[in-house]
Symmetry: C7
Subunit: 65 residues, 7 copies
């Protein structure tokens, strides 16, 4: 792997967990991301809450796995 | 979907929820956005408060869905 | 509307509310703004305090409506 | 007025109040400013404290009036 | 050593500890990093939690050792 | 005075007070500064603590006087 | 001394103290730094903890002396 964003590219279309800086944990399918780590998840959930598609601002991301 | 902002483009003219970093939840019609995630909503509400048109500074956005 | 700043342009010379990140709510006539959302209000008030003209640094703005 | 910094330009050499993000209120004569809102005040006071000339880093400024 | 990132380059493929700004301590194999200190760890753990591969946003990193 | 940094230039080689964002007050001779307000003081003290030469990262500076 | 980073250059290979924004005090030999004040220390300690080589992200640095 050359660059960290290569790891995100390999996750496109797959289910990921995204931890936000406010402590929220989102789970969903990684539809898109960019160099700011703006991300779009589809079929997202936060615990038992069903959210559907969601755009997360990159500066709120702690990690993605 | 190529880029995260494509998801916002698909939401133009539709009702969205915007969570701000101070915990405020806004609901309204997405009129405009830019690469900083500055957004303008029309007919916006925050809970039971009617706000009308509102410009939100991009760095206050946590997510949009 | 193409861009979020178009909404601010339409508000020039009109009375607006500006919520700051420290919770202060300012009301006044929008005299000027720029892409950083630096804003100048005239005849501004904060609750019952009369402030007159005020320059607000853009990064302190939460929203304008 | 075209741009917010025009308002600061009109205040050069006059007494201004500067609210800092840590809540400090400074009063003094506006000697200089730049696009980052770095400011220099002369004959500055903070409440009853006499400070004299002071350089304030722009990112600490909430507003100037 | 010329530049700080040279130290990270020497750690590629080795086990590292990453302290995040929220206090989380991650341990894992350093797979990739970039100039923002975005990092990817594989076989990562946080205390007794097994995480596997993880992408950490650079601005959350306090230090790497 | 044209620009705020002119005020710092006039202070080179003189004793200054630097207030940091964490509340620390440093006193010392201003040896160097740059546009980020990175500063180097010599013979610096923090209250009764003798520090000697110190490099302060610019984003930690509240004001210099 | 012309620029603040000249002071860091003079410290290369010498023992320095680095105060982080979370209050951690590191001591070690300054191996490398860059314009972001990313730093690498070798033989680093934090109080009585022995850390060895450590990469510190520049935005976490308060001061170096």
């Amino acid at each position: 792997m050359e660059r960290p964003l290569d790891a995100l590219n390999a996750l496109k279309g797959k289910e990921v967990n995204v931890l936000l800086k406010d402590g929220t944990k989102l789970t969903g399918k990684l539809e898109a991301f960019d160099i700011h780590t703006n991300v779009v998840l589809s079929e997202a959930t936060a615990g038992s809450d069903k959210i559907g598609q969601i755009f997360v601002r990159g500066d709120m991301v702690t990690y993605i796995n």
